[in-house]
């Protein structure tokens, strides 16, 4: 699942720069399409991050933090 989630995050980064709507002056839901797209894109980010914390969470960190062989500050 992790590769899928990471791939989705990378894809979202790529389609963030929406050159295909750059000069599009149409409106969607009362907003300019250049703004509406980014709101929908943000919603998609929430969905992928939800998948990340559900299925790609670094569970091993809790155990790593509790190791008692650190000897630090």
């Amino acid at each position: 699942m992790r590769p899928l989630v990471y791939g989705a995050l990378a894809l979202l980064f790529v389609i963030h720069t929406d050159v295909w709507l750059w000069n599009d002056g149409r409106f969607i839901l009362g907003l300019p399409v250049g703004l509406g797209y980014h709101l929908l894109w943000t919603a998609a980010v929430v969905g992928v991050l939800w998948l990340a914390v559900r299925h790609a969470w670094p569970e091993e960190l809790e155990a790593a933090a509790e190791r008692n062989d650190a000897g630090g500050q």
């Binding site: 963030h16 750059w22 409106f27 990340a52 969470w57 809790e62 790593a64 509790e66």
Partner: protein, 488 residues
Amino acid sequence: MTLAVIAVYMAAVLGVGALSHRLFSGTGEDYFLATRSIGPFVLLMSLFGTHMTAFALLGASGESYRSGIGVFGLMASSSALVVPAVFLFVGTRAWAVGKRFGYTTQVQYLRDRWDSDALGLLMFAALVALVIPYLLIGVLGAGLTLTDVTGGQVPTWVGGLVVSAVVMIYVTYGGLRGTAWANTFQTLVFMVLGAATFIYVVNAMGGLGAAMQRLAAARPDLMVRGDNFTPIQYLTYAFIPLSAGAFPHLFMHWLTARQASNFRVTVVAYPICIAIVWVPSVLLGVLGNLDFPALSVPESNSVMVRLIGFHAPALLAGLLGAGVFAAVMSSLDSQVLALGTMFTKDVVNHYGYDERMSDRQQVMVGRLFVAAILVVAYLLSLVTRTTIFAMGTWSFTGFAGLFPIIVAALYWRRSTKAGAFAALATVAVLWSYYFVQGWGLLDYTVGGTGVMPVAVVTLASALAMVVASLLSKPPDRALVERFFPPAT
């Protein structure tokens, strides 16, 4: 009325700070890190409140006034992806290493990670130098807002003074727990008041759809990215939110989490919080062109305040002032506390006084540093005049350049202190060069290509880290295994 609302708000913030003090145990760990006991909701609110500042509320609306709706995609939505990803991949790891080794600051970790005092000292200098302008954004924003919401009756220096004084009281009194609680309260305040202000003003303008259609007819250039932005600018501006991975104040907040799973809520809800704050800021900034079509650049930073003065009663102006103060103080408090903690832990303790100081004395030193930093920041704000947006961008550019060093420390076993030095030197040289080239120019890009300096600085820093690490002697095995223990 406006001043009364703001005064009531300030009293409420002090009340929250005083309430949190009831849980204060008197130890250094409690003052500096709230004994690593913060739960998921307060973690989200304190991280978001710390990250959002006058930059979002005032800078974004001013920039939108000038450049249109593209500001949301340029600055907000890119943060909606990058910042939670930084929390997921960097914040959780930093939390784990902080808890395991008992760290309080980034410098403590980086000094140990590459076994270099000199590196720790240079990182300390770089972080302090970059936080100062970020602090000034808040103090300046508070001064401008109070002047604007009172119609010029209160001089600019008063707002900064009030904010600095209130922050000084609750940070020195409550430490990080007081800061986290006050941040939570203030973040809720500026989100709710921002939304309420937006709804009221937009209704007064005849509704969002009608107002946007009128604006589209008058200023179609503001409805598209067009010539206001370039795709390469969008792409390279996305490096700016990487700065969140190097902010010392966010690092400290990461360490306060009770457990790693407390980050889950933050990671998922962060983009929603960003949309709640930035969409109204951007839309009000753009719509300001209907009622105030010819504001200068400095005037445009207060376009939101002008809209409210024009459309809304004094009560709402006071509430907006309180909302902006909330955004300002929820960042300022964490920044000064982080700096105070760094001076205490990374300088006073590290260079000779660790054994000789009791917990109580450490807390006292931390408090004195917080007070001194606020006094210096306030005095600097009196002689600083620039746009809020430009100051923020340059500060964030420097922090983003330090991000590869943090990532290498957490993830790359083969990274060396030579790599870290090389990355730091690269950031210092390139940042200084671009700063000199671009200071005072609102739309500066590298050679006029549309490439934001932050992308060059960050990529060059990463490259320097990789090349210098590979060219230098591999780190000692014992050192590597200390931070990357073999699986058991």
